[in-house]
């Protein structure tokens, strides 16, 4: 997963993440425990999350 420039830090991704892998303070940051499920990207209102695969 990659966080793009359009991220505003609304943290919607973090609330839908099942593995608590996203920390947000002004911008989202994806931690190692991410399982690449991609649910965060679906709910991102800014289309800021790029799924790696």
């Amino acid at each position: 997963m990659k966080i793009g420039k359009t991220c505003v830090g609304c943290a919607q991704c973090a609330t839908f993440c099942k593995t608590d892998a996203i920390k947000v303070k002004g911008k989202a940051l994806i931690m190692d425990v991410c399982i690449e499920c991609g649910i965060c990207a679906e709910y991102c209102p800014m289309k800021a999350i790029e799924v790696s695969i």
């Binding site: 359009t6 505003v8 830090g9 609304c10 943290a11 919607q12 973090a14 609330t15 839908f16 947000v24 303070k25 002004g26 911008k27 679906e42 709910y43 209102p45 800014m46």
Partner: protein, 433 residues
């Protein structure tokens, strides 16, 4: 039953403005279809469960004018069943304990909002009372709220209070809030009174509206991104979704003027359209940061707003679990602060958040809490798509017939946040129905 086909309305965006419009139209004989790009309904006005707490996607679980405001009235008029409980006290102002202190490090005292002029000298108290009365009859037409105050009563306290009030309710500084808009808001506070909490939070409002829409034959599609608004001969005739055309008699966009304008193709650049584009250049979204706290003991102890004019960044805080305990796990409280982020500080957002966190430490010194989540809003996912007072010129119309804009990018005058959305929708419905 007659066989006359119902007029069709398409609504872009299932946020509060879109759902209110859909509910109004569905209960007025329209066949309504709502298209939402996200997989969820409610936009920045619904709940998301996080660690057992009902956080919100944007708005605070609070309606600025409570059970008697424009939003509550509109919900009632469409038969949306929401229980809105008035906050009591409605708002409290936190002052430093020791007069002359400029922060809360030596403790604090709280005063009711109606006593806001207490920290002023007797002369300035009188001046402000006269100003509040005269502006009800002769509202100022020009300048910012801060300029207006300083013209009549030069006092540092009023600047702080205006920043705190405007920051909490509009996510703007007093210097960035038009005096005209501010005094419209004050007169609405007299007319409709102060805040309230919908039991069940923002989502209770959204769920009730969805019920009204679907039980009146309306449809709401999620995960459907509208790629174009179809315009023919100066009239909106439908939309394009996933390459398929959907035709309608009416298109209502809940995504703001600026974002809606990107959805037209091959428009004749008429003079009216050029003028409209000029107006759109004045629209700027407002930005803010919300810090969600979890606590075992109440940090505030009531369901009203705690305004914090002496904090560095935090403008105000609420604790809605004092009114609806179910918005947090049993025995816990949900306390949420809001701070306006000035436009020139958006590049230093992390620092702004850090200052907000320090404020909270001082405001709740000696109390135990945990930071649950920090939510920032700006740009195209802002606090308001148009900062209050900047959307008053364009209002809800577009240069195209049968196409209207609702939502927080096209609020009604003097309408704080969601109340402004309801007033904007009411304006549109007056034109259509």
């Amino acid at each position: 039953m007659n066989n006359v086909a119902k007029p069709r309305a398409i609504i872009i965006g299932a946020g509060l403005g879109g759902l209110l419009s859909a509910a109004k139209l569905a209960t007025s004989g329209y066949e309504v279809e709502v298209f939402e790009r996200l997989p969820m309904i409610g936009g920045r006005f619904t709940n998301i469960e996080y660690k057992g707490f009902a956080l919100s996607t944007g708005a605070l679980h609070m309606l600025p004018h409570g059970p008697t405001g424009p939003l509550a009235q509109m919900l009632k008029s469409v038969g949306a069943d929401v229980n809105i409980v008035r906050s009591d006290p409605m708002a409290v102002i936190r002052l430093p304990l020791i007069d002359g202190d400029n922060d809360y490090t030596n403790g604090y005292k709280d005063i009711p909002f109606r006593n806001f002029s207490d920290p002023l000298s007797a002369t300035n108290r009188l001046k402000i009372a006269v100003l509040m009365l005269t502006t009800r009859v002769f509202p100022p037409k020009k300048g910012s709220l801060e300029e207006c105050f300083s013209r009549y009563v030069k006092d540092e306290w009023l600047v702080k209070l205006a920043d705190s009030f405007c920051g909490w309710s509009l996510s703007l500084r007093g210097a960035d809030t038009s005096a005209k808009e501010a005094f419209s808001i004050f007169s609405n506070l007299y007319r409709y009174s102060g805040s309230g909490v919908p039991i069940g939070g923002c989502k209770a409002v959204v769920d009730a509206l969805v019920d009204v829409i679907t039980s009146n034959g309306g449809t709401i599609h999620t995960g459907k991104d509208v790629s174009e608004i179809l315009i023919e001969n100066g009239k909106a005739v439908g939309i394009l979704v996933d390459g398929a055309e959907h035709f309608s008699d009416l298109v209502i966009s809940n995504i703001g003027h600026v974002e809606t304008d990107r959805l037209y193709n091959n428009i004749e650049p008429s003079e009216e359209y050029q003028q409209y584009l000029e107006q759109l250049k004045k629209i700027k979204p407002s930005a803010g940061v919300k810090i969600c706290l979890a606590a075992d003991e109440p940090l505030i102890g009531h369901g009203g707003v705690l305004l914090t004019p002496y904090a560095r960044r935090v403008n105000g805080i609420n604790e809605v679990t004092n009114i609806d305990p179910n918005l947090a796990p049993p025995g816990k409280h949900l306390t949420v602060s809001h701070q306006c982020v000035q436009w020139d500080k958006l590049d230093e957002l992390e620092q702004e958040i850090e200052l907000g966190l320090q404020d909270i430490k001082e405001i709740f010194a000696g109390k135990k809490y945990e930071v649950l989540l920090i939510q920032s809003h700006s740009g195209e996912w802002p606090v308001n798509r148009s900062a209050s007072g900047l959307d008053v010129n364009v209002k809800n119309s577009t240069p195209f017939k049968n196409l209207f804009i609702v939502g927080d990018g096209a609020k009604g005058e003097g309408g704080i946040e969601v109340e402004g959305i309801a007033l904007g929708v009411a304006n549109v419905m007056e034109r259509i129905l």
